[in-house]
């Protein structure tokens, strides 16, 4: 099972690289972000918890100590889950602020990602199978155009049409008067608030899958095993699904996590438009307010999320493609 070991090794190494990058970014800047943050927090006229100040310095840079010592204490704080205080939501801890927004984004992103994957794969495979048909050109041309649209812009248009003009959906926020939790009124409100943001993402995100799947499928359709399957007199459906699509799907699986990064990017833009209470809006606020601890933590969290998804996709690929497990040990 060297394939799995290798993929896990890559996951750990990448995680380390990302954690280190996150450590370096604030230190590459002129000035001292940590000092600025501490001063600004102190300006909020409350007693600063020394432990939190220490965490903040570890995250953003401390004037004292060598780079190596800073790195060690940074890693220490990370392990203990200390990411400092949020400036925007003072005196809450960054982790608490993020916990509030976390599920809003996770649900939004996971739902759109899964729906786009399924829609994209099916449409792409179908377009390739009916290559050069009218449907294929509509799908291909339409995707090319839709793929260039800005999620931010789509969000604004949807908001204009369905929010303000037609009034079918709420125009901002995540819920109204209900209490967040597992209760019916809340779920209803959350769904109606999430609908437009999700739709805005769903217009753009399946495009990559459609075009990618269509390309690999067309390439696979030229392979000998497809010709042989046709010569065997199998039904078109079997040739298309068991032979062509089954093989064309494989590259898409490994692309899953990379696409997740794109969806996250889109979510940041869309959440800002809809004032949706997720991580993306939080990131926008963090930037506006120069809330560095929050920003750094969000960056780390989203990247780690993509890495985990990438690992999962790699492992799944290993299961799906018998050749992968054997290849270049």
């Amino acid at each position: 099972m060297t394939y799995f070991a290798r993929k896990f090794g890559f996951f750990l190494a990448t995680l380390w690289a990302v954690v280190t990058l996150n450590f370096l970014i604030p230190r590459l800047q002129p000035g001292d972000p940590a000092e600025i943050m501490v001063k600004r927090l102190a300006g909020k006229d409350a007693a600063l918890d020394p432990a939190q100040v220490k965490a903040m310095r570890a995250m953003l840079g401390a004037p004292d100590g060598s780079l190596w010592n800073q790195y060690v204490s940074y890693l220490g704080e990370l392990v203990h889950g200390n990411f400092g205080l949020s400036y925007t939501y003072y005196p809450y801890k960054v982790t608490d602020v993020i916990a509030q927004a976390f599920w809003w984004t996770v649900v939004l992103v996971v739902v759109t990602q899964v729906v786009s994957f399924v829609v994209g794969i099916v449409l792409g495979a179908y377009a390739a199978w009916r290559r050069n048909s009218r449907l294929d050109s509509i799908v291909t041309l339409g995707s090319t155009f839709l793929g260039t649209l800005q999620p931010f812009w789509i969000g604004l248009l949807l908001l204009y049409v369905f929010g303000y003009s037609l009034g079918w959906f709420p125009t901002s926020g995540g819920y109204e008067e209900s209490t967040p939790g597992f209760n019916w009124p809340f779920i209803q409100e959350a769904v109606s608030h999430s609908f437009l943001p999700a739709l805005a993402l769903l217009i753009v995100t399946p495009i990559g899958w459609i075009l990618g799947m269509r390309n690999t499928m067309i390439m696979n359709l030229g392979e000998d095993y497809i010709r042989l399957a046709k010569a065997k007199g199998l039904r078109d459906r079997d040739v298309a699904l068991r032979y062509a699509a089954r093989n064309a799907l494989l590259p898409s699986v490994t692309g899953f996590a990379l696409a997740l990064g794109g969806v996250l990017g889109g979510a940041i833009l869309v959440e800002t438009v809809f004032d949706y209470p997720g991580l993306g809006r939080l990131m926008g606020e963090a930037v506006q307010n120069k809330d560095y601890p929050l920003l750094q933590t969000l960056m780390l969290l989203t990247t780690a999320g993509v890495l985990v998804a990438n690992l999962a996709a790699d492992l799944l690929y290993g299961v799906l493609d018998p050749r992968a497990r054997r290849a270049q040990a």
Binding site: T2, A5, Y225, G233, R242, L250, D321, P322
Partner: protein, 617 residues
């Protein structure tokens, strides 16, 4: 009654970006039940297109543009796919070229039998498994491999599995499209034996497509010869061998000879097939034909019945009408074109010239690390021989015999793990494995290489003039007019004349044979002491191989260069070399003067290789 009846079938390719071309032109033939028919032709002759059309598997931009295909009384030319499906595999099955790719890489082999069987028969579940097991035994593969994935099988096994798959529903007709190309000669032989035996037992009809006239002659009852999209000859195998009608057939037959003979002659057909996208007047073979008469340039000869078979040749028809006494003379059995002759005397030149490079007890072990286990493969062990100026040493063996590894060590790409390779150069004796950087570069001005695949060994982005000028500029510091003059000289030297027509061409504009000449010219540029030629003719069409061999032979004589000729084919070794070394699994199994080894082989493996030479003489 014929099982498969093809009438005036034409296939046209209409690519959007280039001129349309008729790959198959008004081809007619029939195959009776249980008949084994061979279809030979060289690359570009349209034989695979014809096969694909028969299976109704043509893809855009190709389509059947005329004629009909009738199978078992049903016209399948335009049969809707739904009706065709019932016929597929149950009646008509196929084995494609032995590529890696005819099995679905992500489905176990068993599943790929099961779907075909269940689609066309009432067998289900355990009964299907039993049938698959039976089929595996039929092609002599352990049924335990049923659950394997395709990539877990060797090339030969995969092709046997494909054969078993083709037999799954006891079809009436199987199309075999170069089923063993690319496999080892020994493996090829055993697979084809298997085919022949099963065909005799089960009585299915076969159309066997191949470029290799030897195997086709061995297996077939009747043979179709295809050239430039048409069938030019159709005869029973025996008659074709005894009295070939078309000059092209004669050329193909003439490309082989018996290496054991005192004097071996092999012919070649100069030039190359016509471009089918251009209009053509007269016979498509006329340009290359030594028996050509004026009529051939004006009228396209029809395929007419002749001597119990059919042929498309004015001369053959006229000669038989005149009974041999007329102005067109006697029918000739052999190809009247250029030939390359090697007498026993020439082969017997004693190994007396100066030794330029000696291989002394060389071995090479590859270590492959996989996790914590290290696998050691011994690619070459304890090989010794000398290369002499003006002489050719042939290194003969199958793929995996270690011959390419030896070539890499001799050219300094890899180092031996034991023994040594010594170059006896102008600066005294030097060990090759010690060469690095500058020294390696200098060494390569003495040792040059000719590659197997002329299609990938010329940079597609560069003109021939540039390609040939680089070694001259690098090693001899030539510039300007002197450089250009030398480039022209080289082109002339390898008979690419007039040189100014070639100097600004790109490699892909030339035929395979011409490209190989360019590579040889490039190797010659620096006046090396040794040329390592790694299977230089194996990717060329059979009908032009002798041409390249002859060129190499001339170089040895005239330039006094020593050649290490690497091949899997003892016939070409006989034609070119003075000494033969037979390699099997990295060991020398036989070594000696060419004629001795070929006429009195002592090792079984050498005999197997000799048996593998097609025998149409």
């Amino acid at each position: 009654m014929t099982l498969l009846d093809v009438r005036d079938l034409s296939v046209r390719y209409e690519p959007k970006a280039s001129r349309p071309l008729d790959a198959v032109q008004e081809v007619s033939f029939g195959i009776g039940p249980g008949e084994f028919v061979g279809l030979i032709g060289e690359s570009g002759s349209g034989k695979t297109t014809l096969g694909t059309a028969l299976l109704r598997l043509l893809q855009r931009p190709g389509r059947i543009s005329g004629g009909s295909i009738t199978f078992d009384g049903t016209d399948i030319t335009d049969l809707p796919e739904d009706d065709l499906r019932a016929l597929r595999w149950r009646d008509i099955s196929t084995v494609f070229q032995s590529s890696m790719n005819s099995l679905n890489p992500v489905v176990r082999v068993e599943g790929q039998f099961r779907d075909a069987i269940e689609q066309h028969s009432s067998l289900r579940g355990e009964a299907v498994t039993r049938r698959i097991r039976e089929l595996f035994e039929m092609v002599i593969i352990d049924p335990k491999f049923m659950t394997a994935f395709p990539h877990e099988l060797s090339g030969g096994m995969r092709q046997r599995v494909n054969l078993a798959l083709a037999l799954a529903l006891e079809p009436k007709f199987i199309l075999l499209d170069e089923p063993t190309t690319g496999l080892d000669v020994v493996v090829q032989h055993s697979i084809l034996e298997n085919v022949r035996r099963l065909q005799a037992e089960q009585g299915f009809a076969v159309l066997f497509i191949s470029h290799d006239i030897g195997t086709v002659l061995d297996l077939s009852d009747r043979i179709l010869v295809m050239y430039a999209g048409r069938i030019v000859e159709d005869q029973s195998a025996g008659a074709l061998l005894r009295e070939p009608l078309h000059p092209y057939t004669k050329g193909l037959l003439g490309s082989y000879g018996d290496p054991r003979q005192e004097t071996v002659k092999i012919t070649y057909v100069p030039g190359r097939p016509p471009d089918l996208s251009l209009p053509m007047v007269g016979c498509s073979f006329a340009a290359r034909c030594p028996e050509r008469i004026d009529l051939c340039l004006e009228q396209d000869p029809p395929l007419v019945p002749l001597q119990g078979g059919r042929a498309a040749c004015h001369v053959a028809v006229l000669q038989r009408e005149e009974g041999g006494a007329g102005p067109h003379g006697e029918p000739k059995r052999g190809f009247e074109g250029p030939q390359f002759v090697k007498t026993a005397d020439e082969s017997r030149s004693a190994l007396t010239n100066d030794v330029v490079l000696s291989v002394e007890g060389v071995g090479k072990v590859f270590e492959r690390r996989r996790g914590f286990t290290v696998t050691r493969t011994e690619a070459v062990s304890d090989v010794s021989f000398d290369l002499r100026r003006g002489e050719v040493t042939a290194l003969v063996g199958q793929s995996g015999s270690g011959k390419s590894t030896l070539a890499r060590m001799i050219t300094g790409v890899e180092s031996p793990t034991s023994g040594r390779i010594v170059f006896h150069g102008p600066d005294g004796d030097q060990q090759v494995s010690g060469f690095r950087g500058r020294a390696l570069r200098d060494y390569r001005s003495d040792v040059q290489m000719v590659f197997q695949d002329p299609y990938s060994s010329i940079n597609p982005a560069k003109r021939l003039g540039y390609v040939l000028s680089r070694p001259l500029a690098n090693y001899q510091g030539l510039k300007g007019a002197a450089l250009r003059e030398r480039v022209m000289e080289l082109l002339e030297r390898v008979a690419l004349t007039p040189a100014d027509r070639f100097v600004n061409r790109y490699g892909y504009e030339l035929s395979g044979g011409q490209r190989q000449r360019v590579i040889i010219a490039k190797a010659l540029a620096v006046e090396p002491r040794i040329i390592v030629a790694d299977e230089p003719i194996s990717s060329l069409d059979v009908s032009i191989r002798a041409e390249v061999l002859e060129l190499l032979n001339d170089l040895v004589k005239e330039n006094d260069v020593g050649i290490l000729y690497i091949t899997h084919d003892l016939l070409s070794a006989r034609m070119l070399s003075d000494e033969v070394i037979v390699l099997n699994n990295g060991r020398v199994v036989e070594q000696g003067p060419t004629l001795d080894v070929i006429r009195a082989p002592k090792d079984d493996y050498t005999r197997t290789l000799l048996d593998a030479i097609p025998n149409p003489f």
